[in-house]
Symmetry: C2
DNA sequence: TTCCTTGCAAATCCTTTGCAAGGGT
DNA sequence: ACCCTTGCAAAGGATTTGCAAGGAA
């Protein structure tokens, strides 16, 4: 599984981007937490354990750099909160299911048939190279729980008219 | 087309949420701009024309309120920028295509076969009631333009390993 | 009266920037 | 020598909060 990390190193080298200890600390922290999503500040705290002199501004600069290099994806779940994840960290494209009741975040793997994306390209001329989807709703636990209001959900659906 | 506005009014009434002039100004401004996406501040400026005493904080509070009521959807395109839109404003579910080259935002209508969403429900127990997708890539104009670097796009794809 | 809503200003939180210092090439 | 990168502190921007006043129920 050093595979993913290797391809990051290679990509950075290919682009002549210097791998400073700060940048490496950020990369490693992202890698260690590849099953989650980190905010810049969370990442800062984790990376600081690897390289204690690290400054928060450097984390932001590094994230911006890695983003431009295509190593990361940034995901917005809630207002003002940006989280980052290494691309392909889960071995394949994935999406996020956010429970509106308990806030739980779970992931599902690529549900898009490639055909769908090709179709968009054909119809609009837009070439999709990346995407990020959030699905909101109610998780299994909450739906089983006592504070789950079925009626409320029906109303939501109604206001929306369709799902 | 007062239809959409009507259902908002009804929903607010049903929930015993008082429709103050400030709130109505916000709602109307959203409605008038239903083909676009507004940031809170843009919305503030527009709604202020309808009700000049309006304060910015009230706009934020109202957006939060409407969001909880399910009248709105919030969309994050870029770090730190949240935009709002009335739900079903375009008559049907839509998605966003963001060009990484020129920043142009265009919309496409629901490309999800309902089957896909049902399948998620079956497999995970998660009930999707809403979703929001951003697709990133390159628009037709940019791909035709001279500063479009085909090789760069290939590299992106490679780093990502798949689209 | 009591509760809700508001405008304003202050506070807070997240992110970016200016700058001088340190390190690589 | 030159350019890149960094940490720190300050600046900037967006959003939230405290509070006293006004209005509805």
């Amino acid at each position: 599984m050093g595979d993913m990390l290797d391809s990051c190193y290679q990509e950075l080298e290919r682009r002549h981007i210097r791998l400073t200890p700060q940048r490496e600390a950020v990369l490693l922290a992202l890698y260690r937490d590849r099953d989650g999503h980190l905010t810049p500040y969370e990442l800062f705290k984790k990376a600081k354990k690897i390289y204690p002199e690290l400054g928060l501004a450097t984390v932001y600069r590094t994230l911006e750099l890695f983003l431009g290099t295509g190593l990361l994806r940034d995901v917005q779940f809630d207002k003002g909160i940006t989280q980052y994840e290494l691309k392909d960290a889960k071995g394949s494209r994935h999406h996020h299911l956010v429970c509106k009741c308990c806030g739980h975040l779970q992931e599902i793997n690529g549900i898009f048939p490639k055909k769908l994306l090709d179709q968009v390209n054909e119809e609009t001329g837009f070439l999709i190279t990346d995407y990020c989807c959030q699905f909101y709703g109610y998780c299994e636990q909450c739906r089983a729980g006592s504070n789950y209001d079925d009626r409320q959900v029906e109303i939501e659906k109604h206001v929306r008219k369709e799902v």
